[in-house]
Amino acid sequence: MSLIAVNGLSKAFDGKQVVKDLTFQLEPGKCVALLGPNGAGKTTTLRLLAGFTRPTEGNITFDEQSLSTDIRNYVGYLPQFPVFHNWMTGMEFLIYVGQLSYLSKSEATERASQLMDRVGIGDAKKQRIGKYSGGMRQRLGIAQALMNKPKLIMLDEPVSALDPIGRREVLNLMNELKKDATILFSTHILNDAEEVSDELLLLHRGELVEQGSLDQLNNLHQTGKIELTFSDNPDSLKEDLEKLSTVEHVDVHNRSVNIITSDEDATRKELLQYVTAKDLPLTKYEVAKTTLEDLFMKVVSK
């Protein structure tokens, strides 16, 4: 059973398609990364799910019910650049949005206090938000998204604006949050996606170009990549290697050679025969895996 099902979702602004025919499901308890370069339609997708704009076509189904109920009851949303009422203190703002989510004043106060501690700004509870640093605002933004105990947490670029330490802490926090809720977050940083997400949605120019778990995607797009290193710089290697029947592409960097192949086994035989025949000083033979980065670059450069 999926928590949220998106079917044929499209959005056009002034005739320009920003999001095209998105179809995907989010399973409960999963952390899903919405990955794509800048301008791929990540923010628009999240805003569609948060109800800030209406789809041109398609629909969103939450928890098997059509959206007659207010989706905002179950969703926590962190925009890319969260803006607060700067005249409030962090606690006041959290209590305010908590009460807007139908918590009682005492419930909201208790939860606000816990969340401030949890996101690591417990010291700034009574400080005006106007005096918060960028990182503190981002953390307060995460805290406010959690006030109503959402089933779905949507975070728009939650770590892009943070320093390495902040980034680490927020990623850890997201790993914790996975236990209680489904997370959908957007990012253009592959490492972040690889680190916390169970599944990936790869967006490019508004279209969903790939989706699946990390392993699935890796297997699906795995091509043989062999890395050879020699102790000496061999001459005419590139030309010779390119003549081998199974080799698709050869890159030579100093003493190491990268080979892309369609058939790893066949290439290994041919390569080793060639190396033995020529008596080349081979020091390393490695079968490399294509990374998410390779996949990302491949998709984006299409």
Partner: protein
């Protein structure tokens, strides 16, 4: 519950950004400014050298009712401008800054959001109007002669409806634009148009809100609430409800 949360938040905001101080003070000044300058005008002219020899300038002392009505005249122009300034960011400001992304991603009913903000703004403005008119009535009594307390209360109640009408226009326009400056401009244009249309087609539109202050002048002098005044009050209240309802609908269907 949710409504009162938003209402209280607005009230705290008005305290922190000192609107609860400067708006009543400005309304107080507008309420008594004309009364006092008119009263002391002969003395002011005297003290700066007086009239040239032979000049026959007769400055009539206004009747107490007329003097009291001067406050209304000031609110009809400068007061409206101040209200437009205070209210231009009410909703548009939150849309522009982006706070709405956090507030409206919570299950906030749009009707609560609009009407609570409207009510908070109205509380601030009408309280200021009450203080200003009270001071105007007090000085009219001291300097010009008797105006009954009943007339003051009646004037406040009637004129409140006109001020509420303009507040509601501004709230309505707030839901259309993201730029507070635009809200200021369009809401002033709106009330000016209401007044122009009233003065051109006044004979047909006898219950137009634009007539309210001239009917009010009649009320202050006679103490009678005429049929036309009742009709105008009813029309204005009706328009307030329509505008508020439209504001909620516009915001609900807005692409943000």
């Amino acid at each position: 519950m949710q409504w009162s949360v938003i209402f209280k938040k607005e009230m705290v905001e008005y305290v922190r950004n000192v609107k609860w101080i400067w708006v009543p003070i400005v309304f107080l000044i507008f309420g008594i400014m004309d009364l006092i300058t008119t009263y002391y005008l002969p003395k002011i002219i005297e003290s700066v050298g007086g009239m040239p020899e032979g000049a026959q300038v007769n400055i009539p002392t206004p009747a107490p009712e007329q003097a009291f009505f001067m406050s209304i005249g000031e609110y009809g122009t400068m007061g409206i401008l101040i209200i437009a300034l205070v209210s231009m960011g009410l909703i548009a400001g939150e849309l522009k800054s982006g706070v709405y992304e956090l507030v409206l991603s919570k299950p906030v009913k749009y009707s609560n959001y609009v009407t609570a903000k409207w009510a908070a703004l109205s509380t601030l403005i009408l309280t200021s109007l009450f203080i200003g008119l009270l001071a105007g009535w007090y000085y009219a009594n001291i300097l010009y002669g008797d105006v009954s307390f009943g007339t003051f209360i009646g004037t406040f109640l009637i004129y409140s409806i006109y001020i509420l009408f303009f507040i509601t226009i501004s709230v309505f326009v707030n839901t259309w634009f993201k730029r507070p400056g635009m809200v200021l401009f369009v809401s002033l244009l709106f009330i000016i148009l209401v007044n122009i249309i009233t003065s051109i087609f006044g004979h047909y539109l006898t219950w137009s809100p634009g007539h309210l202050s001239s009917y009010l002048n009649g009320y202050i002098h006679t103490g009678n609430v005429t049929g036309d005044l009742w009709g105008t009050l009813a029309t204005t209240l009706f328009l307030i409800v329509i505008l508020l309802f439209s504001a909620v609908t516009v915001l609900k269907n807005k692409e943000m």
